[in-house]
């Protein structure tokens, strides 16, 4: 699609007047999505989509329009030209945009990876074989992802990747299940077999009688998947320059210095070690690493071009939402092998679910445990626990009550497929927390 996109852009750029500037941001994919239920295929299909956002700038006025491109050049050029006419008709009515900011120097980049995945049919066959006899439910998403940027200032950026993600559960009974994800760029049936065997071993613990847990505070271990969800809540404005300036950040007290997290908490936006493209939709290049929290204190925020202009900050390549796309949290000193022993007696939370703020300004979060949540006694799993609700502030969970972070961290590609397949990722450790409150 690279040549088609740039060819499309050149044709439109040729019609742009001397007082105008045009940028185009492309997001496309050729994906296969295969849903499974009860170890069988529920809903398989393919999606080819090519979306392009055209932004027309005239002086300090701007408007934008996103188009679905068909991939048929002449047809797309006609749609693009129509879109430009609509944008021109709008722009004459608009006031100057005081927060318009574009790259001063064009910075062209290209990052293309090789397709190493087998045909999706082979992957489906492997999954059905390995899951035979199991109550497996989940989704395989696979295929090519492309991102591009072009501007009349001469900048050209292109990114392609060919990842897969297999996100699944094996159910034991009722709501008791073991959740697994496997994502990457190379498919290996042997790895799939290992992961399925590992999940089946965990499934055996769910055979034990359910431990009834009364509401109260418990020593608790959150796996990296659970920590990713908890820390991910900070992405709801916590690292946003705009939300921080306004006072809408859930890290309000961290940004004011009234509160701090445990000194072991270090968080950054680490695009260099993520898998996402290195440019954002206005064409700014994302730096490799943006420190956000260091030694428990807020040391940086993600600054979009609009916020940079509005607040006089230095733009650091954030998108409009100013949320991380490659969140990286430093590990601690606790080896994974010692987690159960250090937990001793308490709750082992494999996954969290449906988190939301119960008091945003106070950084207080509620949510549920999900899948294989286990009761541990003297470092040994005793049995599963029914889903429990927690309600706790970040300042307690990752501050006063944080006991340890695991040395090892887990890297996960996002499995989100809202509108399109995500290229975001997280790399976080597990966390041992004292007196974690379960309320219902």
């Amino acid at each position: 699609m690279k040549d088609t996109f740039f060819g499309f852009f050149e044709r439109l750029a040729a019609t742009v007047g001397s007082a105008e500037r045009l940028t185009a941001h492309y997001k496309g994919e050729e994906s296969c999505f295969i849903r499974f239920n009860r170890g069988l295929v529920r809903q398989p299909g393919s999606v080819t989509q090519n979306d392009c956002t055209l932004r027309l700038i005239s002086g300090l006025k701007q408007a934008n329009m996103e188009l679905s491109l068909s991939g048929v050049l002449e047809q797309d050029v006609q749609r693009g030209l129509q879109a430009l006419e609509t944008l021109r008709a709008w722009i004459v009515h608009l006031p100057d945009d005081p927060h318009l900011l574009l790259p001063e120097q064009p910075q062209s980049t290209e990052r293309m990876s090789q397709m190493l995945l087998p045909d999706s049919g082979t992957m489906v066959t492997d999954i059905l074989d390995v899951a035979r006899g199991l109550d497996l439910v989940g989704i395989l998403a696979t295929g090519s992802i492309g991102r591009g940027f072009a501007s009349t200032s001469g900048q050209r950026n292109w990114f392609t990747a060919h990842p897969f993600s297999f996100d699944w559960c094996i159910y034991h009974h009722g709501d008791k299940a073991v959740k697994s994800t496997w994502s990457g760029f190379e498919w290996d049936r042997g790895v799939l077999e290992q992961k399925m065997e590992s999940a089946q071993r965990k499934l055996a613990i769910l055979d034990q009688p359910v431990k009834k847990l009364a509401p109260g505070r418990y020593r608790t271990y959150l796996t990296p998947a659970a920590v990713s969800d908890l820390v991910g809540m900070c992405s709801w404005g916590g690292f946003s320059a705009s939300a921080t300036k306004i006072g809408m950040s859930p890290l309000l007290h961290l940004s004011s210095g009234d509160r701090q997290l445990d000194p072991r908490i270090c968080i950054s936006e680490n695009v260099a070690q993520g898998v996402t493209e290195d440019f954002q939709d206005s064409g700014f290049i994302r730096p490799g690493n943006v420190p956000l929290v260091a030694e428990g204190k807020l040391v940086g925020t993600l600054v979009s071009p609009r916020s940079a202009k509005e607040y006089g900050l230095e733009n650091n390549g954030a998108g409009g939402g100013e949320s991380p796309c490659a969140l990286d949290m430093a590990g601690g000193s606790m080896p994974n092998a010692e987690v159960l022993e250090r937990l001793g007696t308490g709750v082992y939370v494999s996954n969290l679910w449906y988190l939301n703020f119960s008091d945003r300004a106070a950084g207080r979060i509620t949510g549920m445990t999900r899948f294989a949540t286990l009761w541990i006694e003297d470092g040994k799993p005793v049995g599963p626990i029914d889903p429990m609700r927690f309600d706790e502030t970040l300042y307690n969970a990752l501050g006063d009550n944080l006991l340890a972070l695991t040395r090892e961290r887990e890297f996960d590609l996002s499995t989100s497929t809202y509108h399109r397949r995500s290229t975001e990722s997280t790399r976080v450790p597990g966390a041992l927390i004292d007196a974690f409150p379960f309320t219902l």
Partner: protein, 478 residues
């Protein structure tokens, strides 16, 4: 353009048990003013089609925005290949389902089309409404916006079915955020664009877009100085703009048949409702009557036919408190051996239809708001959702509202901040003590309901009166 696509499809129909093409052209426009600054107008022209093939018991789909003859033929080939592959290991023999071949049209009622308003007039309107929010320096963030979505869709089947639908949606929003440095409080006209409806510019009038700004800003400021919501088990009155969330999360989702069949267990979750409960289970008190109602034409998720071509009709899901019917489309109904409704829906051309809520409404009762309040000795009246969390079986929930007011001895008392409540779906609905009349009813809707693998966001509608619940665990902030 649709006519040519239909002609091409008819020329390409393969020799299979069933084949359909669903073409969607959706135009979205958003005009917004944040903190007094007009944001760059943004729009979206989304256009493409999905081919579905059922053959030999298997089902497959392929989506493309190339609707040329060549593009359609490629999509049909891909969908057929998936149908053939999955036939060997499918959860169900989909060829056994008699798919409909409907003929029909449907259009939203529009009194005054959105595009009757020029860009200049829209900007002037936004500025007028935005200025109403700047009543105090402690209002640190304020915004007004209007989203317009026009959706044209054509559904064609290999048996000659043809359904054309034109939906027009308006989703207004007003927000004010007040901060004193140590606390931040927000008020909105309804969170998540909750006053979204079908229609034209008349929706702005119905939603209160022209009048609500000053109240919203004033209430955000009031909240900064309000005491925390009192904790304890007490009575709770929820207004329509919180009832929409309560209905959505703890009735709508658990009644979705694909959850009950297990399809969503890896992502959106399962349900505490099981297939054997229908016709017997006492879901709530006898005052609880819930309908699937696509016939309320101004409501946000009304339509004539779902995305499997099934004609939509009003049906009771819960009647006099008893669970009677799940939210399941045609394929799920056959898989489960249960009846259902026409709710097989996709968010657009690039996602396959699954069981979704549409308009899920709570039918009116007989009490005015003052009559509801008069029944409360000690309780809280809450408005406007701001936080929502519920377990994957849709049972244990905790919801928060933007604004609350104490009720003492049948009269409204102080405004309280950070009002939250938690409960378990089954017990909560059985504690439904009184249902408001038509004067308390709000026809709400939101563009943002997420579910499915691959993920989809769809429009939903929830009309409800205010309701009174007894013995609810209520609490405030830190």
């Amino acid at each position: 353009m649709f006519e040519k696509t239909a002609e091409r499809f008819r020329e390409c129909i393969p020799s299979v048990d069933f084949c359909s093409l669903r073409v969607v052209r959706e135009q979205t426009e958003v005009m917004a003013m944040l903190r007094g600054v007009l944001q760059p107008p943004s729009s979206r022209e989304d256009f493409g089609g999905m081919v579905t093939v059922i053959h030999g018991g298997g089902l497959g789909y392929a989506a493309t925005s190339d609707l040329s003859t060549s593009g359609l033929n490629q999509a049909i080939a891909r969908a057929k290949k998936w149908a053939e592959r999955s036939a060997l290991a499918s959860v169900y023999d989909f060829s056994s389902v008699p798919m409909p071949h409907p003929q029909g049209t449907y259009a939203s009622p529009v009194e005054q089309p959105f595009h009757d308003m020029s860009v200049s007039d829209c900007m002037a309107l936004l500025k007028t409404e935005s200025d109403k929010l700047t009543i105090d320096p402690r209002v640190v963030h304020w915004g007004v916006s209007i989203m317009y979505v026009g959706t044209d869709s054509l559904y064609l089947t290999s048996g000659g079915g043809e359904v054309f639908q034109q939906l027009r949606h308006i989703a207004p929003a007003i927000e004010a955020v007040a901060s004193d440095g140590s606390d931040t409080q927000s008020r909105t006209m309804a969170s998540l664009r909750g006053f979204s409806q079908q229609g034209g510019l008349e929706v702005l009038e119905r939603s209160g877009f022209y009048s609500d700004g000053p109240r919203i800003a004033r209430e955000a400021l009031e909240l900064l100085e309000a005491p925390q919501c009192p904790s304890g088990e007490q009575d709770l009155i929820l207004d329509a703009d919180q009832m929409m969330l309560q209905i959505h999360e703890s009735i709508g989702h658990p009644l979705e048949l694909d959850r009950i069949l297990g399809d969503e267990r890896n992502y959106a979750g399962t349900s505490f409702v099981t297939a054997d409960m229908f016709g017997e289970y006492q879901y709530g008190s006898k005052l609880l009557n819930i309908t699937f109602d696509p016939t309320l034409s101004e409501q946000f998720a009304s339509y004539g036919y779902d995305d499997d071509g099934v004609q939509a009709t009003k049906e009771y899901l819960i009647q006099d408190g008893v669970l009677v019917r799940p939210l399941g489309g045609l394929l799920s109904q056959h898989r489960a051996g249960l009846n259902g409704v026409a709710n097989s829906r996709a968010c657009s051309w690039n996602r396959p239809p699954i069981d979704r809520m549409a308009n899920i409404n709570l039918e009116e009762g007989t009490d005015s708001l003052s009559a509801l309040i008069g029944q409360v000795e000690k309780g809280v009246y809450m408005r406007t959702n701001r936080s929502w969390s519920i377990d994957d079986s849709r049972n244990k929930f905790q919801f928060g509202c933007e604004w609350g007011r104490e009720i003492v001895d049948g009269a409204l008392g102080r405004v309280v901040r950070n009002p939250n409540y938690r409960g378990i779906s089954a017990g909560f609905w059985r504690n439904l003590k009184a249902v408001g009349d038509g004067s308390t009813r709000g026809v709400m809707g939101t563009p943002y309901c997420g579910k499915g693998e691959p993920n989809q966001v769809v429009r939903v509608g929830h009309a409800s009166p205010a309701c009174l619940f007894s013995n609810v665990a209520v609490f405030g902030g830190v």
